[in-house]
Symmetry: none
Subunit: 521 residues, 2 copies
């Protein structure tokens, strides 16, 4: 088993992603999480370019991290001594023990971006590396655009590697900066480069513009790279950096490499969601290994096979990366989906086959009418309960009325009235709200709370509407999805009707009824 | 240049993605879009397993598609004659000329999932292929779990290929069903398989559980596969299928393969967004090639280099796939977007810079409040017109009132009243509708039609609602998007408010006003 060093650049290259803006506190939190997870290196930022990053390094020094903290910077400016370069001085000042500096390895960039000569660029590389080494730092040299450079002028790209290595760089990182390469290019060029410098340790840094960053990183490791640079969830500029949450389990579970401590791997899903939360990104449910749907099964035949042998449709065990299997109920469901979902929700189907067939029949009818139970566990639960048992409702609707009025001053008032039958008594309530659905929600709660105080801590956390059959335009049926939470759990409910108000009412009343039936037990 | 056939399974395997639920109308729309784009094959569904898919094939037959329409199914059941198998009969009945049937190539699956013998499974494959060939169908055989099967029992996996091929299958598709393989495995196994059957045409079908579906598909093509199965945007079960929006441009721009007509490539971004829209998925901005951020550059060294030479930080030209460069955190980006959009809509900006700045300022304020003009050309047009000219409104709202009432019989009545000022006169109308928005729409039309008969042929074709800030639950601001069409054109309008009724009112009145201003000219 070969060791691969994981170099995390979530806080540096990751923060260049559109819409990402980490505060210093955010960066500290993520650094702690990365350290606890056990990556080898944490690239914290670019001191000198950014006052926020200088603050970060000042604070991070006190954290006593086990991971090595890295400051990023560029090679010295043209025509300046390395010792006088403000960027390189800021690296020294940050107090880190490892520096990662990037330099040009594609001569086209030297000409267009740096506007200097090929010789001066090589001197910029070697001077900068030598200066940092003279200050006793570990130095990683990022050969920017290495692969594009290699394709366009192989000898110059290799000369940049030699300049860094001869000057004492501990690791040379081959950067696929534009992200456009495919794995076959990466394999070939990496193999040739490793062969040309048998004594140099190489790293890979890939971007995802071809959708191949993970594959490219793994291919580079297979050809001899000993370090992978990437970010948690693949955040980063344009299409993002290589996603460490996909690379680490691939190398460690599927191939014979060790990236982190074996028990750390089971914290991977947690780490992924934590970083999304701090970055304020909605987690991508389809992310490999760590996404909510990564082990979600919808097709009936898949579910029945999975229950016989999980290997049939799962490439790894979900728990090995801290994720879990989900069984989805839909009109593609067979018997196995319903039985398995019923088990998860403790629905207590009798299992003689007849009750399950009955539920599948009802679901198919409902889905034909536009219902969709995939995320609506609450409504699915109630539907099944009502279909199978002598279900005693907690309340029943007699009538409601909702009015929205905009007057000549532009003010809008929404008012709802609801007449319910609760435990044999008629409750007639009225409430206003910020819109008709909010008014209806307020009204329902006002009526129920005397009888069922447990609904007090139920909150609606999401509300979505979509048209089911758009042909019929504003007269089309709409599907309303509501997510509710209490202190410990969240659940989804659904309603469908031509009338958005009635669809909302269905979802609202299911949300409350689910809470009541669950808290009864 | 070698031809690669693109086999799209968005409507079949794609629809197995969690949260995806296509109506028959949705499927017809997507089939038309795929046909216009020019994929070779469109897999429409699984007749026999699903009544919705049977309806789809009945309707799709009338479309006169240039792409070949494919019905999916499985090999015959064990112990049944192919001619008597209900699934295979449903394929014949669907009337397609191409069938894609899957069968087992991993003996572990034969044992655990099918519960039959290795020999019977091979007979199921050959009988099924032979039966469909006897009915003059083109037959693609999907060798399910081929790569896992090959790793576990190479000879059996190859025997399944031989059974299909000997029975007359036109193409054998190597399926990486569990999605766990890495490109080096795919390359090696594909090369060996192609070598073992030099006369067989092979396809690749990859899933993304390792985050390598795109790379795996490309590697398989490089080793000799002549067809790629995948989906638009990579939708599909668990982590999705191979994303055709990444594979097609890689093969066609970067390698020497032809997948679609060269001019079709520039429609790729549009196709991607159209499918997201129909699937009601929020487009992933970081998607390679087609994402909104795929060519987005944050201010700084990248931007200045890009302006000198776009090759410096862009792997391809954005317009080659119908996407565009975005410069983030820069006034210039705003300016070029506005100028380009204004040209597209014939807005006639004066172009002295001042008018453009004024529009950018208003858009930024509006976007901060939750508006989003990307698909709402109609509202963008009106916003700009109103900002720049002495715009004379066609009507103005004095007040409205909407009431929805459900009585004790369960009947629901929606009634709206609207008071408008039209050409100096007050019009006060009342109308009922199938829901509050439909009632409001009817009311608005009733008032306007006397003055503006041209609105008679305007229809609302889509209606969508999304919460802008979900934290605030049912009191959150909602964004209503409406699409309208007349005989020749369709346009989108938008409204944002805490109150769904008022947000709908904004979008409805923009929809009509856009028609009026456009028909005036």
């Amino acid at each position: 088993m070969k060791n691969i060093q994981i170099f995390d650049t979530t806080l540096r290259d990751g923060s260049q992603g559109a819409g990402i803006s980490f505060s210093v506190e955010d960066k500290i939190k993520i650094a702690k999480a990365l350290d606890a997870f056990g990556v080898s290196y944490i690239e914290g930022g670019w001191p000198g370019a950014n006052p926020k990053d200088e603050q970060f390094f000042a604070l991070a020094k006190r954290l006593r991290l086990s991971s090595k903290l890295v400051a990023f910077s560029s090679t010295r400016r043209k025509g300046v001594k390395a010792a006088d370069d403000s960027n390189l001085r800021a690296v020294i000042k940050s107090g880190v023990k490892t520096a990662c500096i990037f330099g040009k390895s594609w001569d086209m960039h030297v000409k267009y971006a740096l506007k200097t000569t090929s010789e001066e660029n090589l001197k910029m590389i070697s001077d900068s590396v030598a200066f940092l080494k003279s200050k006793k730092l570990e130095v990683i040299f990022d050969a920017e655009h290495f692969f594009d450079g290699y394709k366009n002028n192989k000898n110059y790209a290799l000369a940049s590697v030699k300049a860094a290595s001869d000057a004492g760089a501990d690791i040379v990182c081959l950067c696929e900066t534009n992200g456009g390469m495919l794995p076959s290019d990466i394999s070939k060029i990496t193999a040739q480069t490793v062969e040309a410098f048998p004594k140099v340790k190489f790293a890979i840094h890939a971007h995802n513009d071809s959708g191949c960053a993970v594959a490219n990183s793994i291919s580079a490791v297979e050809e001899g790279c000993v370090m992978v640079q990437g970010t948690i969830n693949g955040i980063g500029e344009r299409c993002g950096n290589a996603n460490l949450c996909s690379i680490i389990p691939a190398l460690q579970i599927k191939k014979d490499y060790k990236c982190v401590a074996p028990k750390a791997l089971s914290k991977l899903t947690e780490l992924s969601r934590y970083v999304d939360e701090i970055a304020n990104l909605i987690p991508d449910d389809t992310k490999p290994y760590v996404g909510r749907n990564a082990f979600a099964h919808k097709a009936g035949i898949h579910v029945s096979a999975i229950e016989k042998n999980s290997q049939t449709y799962e490439h790894i065990k979900p728990e090995s990366v801290g994720n879990e299997r989900r069984i989805i109920v839909s009109d593609m469901s067979g018997k196995s989906n319903v039985v398995s979902k019923a088990g998860e929700l403790a629905l207590g189907l009798k299992g003689d086959g007849e009750d399950v067939k009955q539920v599948i029949k009802i679901i198919k009818e409902k889905e034909n009418a536009g219902y969709q139970y995939e995320d609506a566990d609450g409504s699915f639960f109630l539907l099944t309960k009502k279909a199978l048992e002598s279900f005693k409702p907690f309340f029943s609707l007699k009538s409601y009325r909702v009015a929205v009025e905009k007057d000549e001053t532009g003010a809008i008032v929404s008012e709802a009235t609801v007449k319910l039958n609760i435990k044999g008594k008629e409750e007639h309530t009225v409430a206003e709200g910020d819109g008709p659905v909010n008014a209806l929600d307020n009204c329902l709660r006002k009526a129920l709370i005397k009888y069922y105080p447990q609904i007090k801590n139920v909150f609606l956390t999401d509300f979505k509407v979509r048209v089911v059959d758009s042909k019929a335009n504003t007269a089309a049926r709409v599907r309303v999805f509501i997510e509710s939470s209490d202190a410990s759990k969240s659940w989804g409910t659904i309603g469908v009707n031509e009338n958005i108000i009635d669809a909302s009412w269905q979802a609202l009343s299911d949300a409350v009824e689910y809470k009541l039936i669950k808290s009864k037990k």
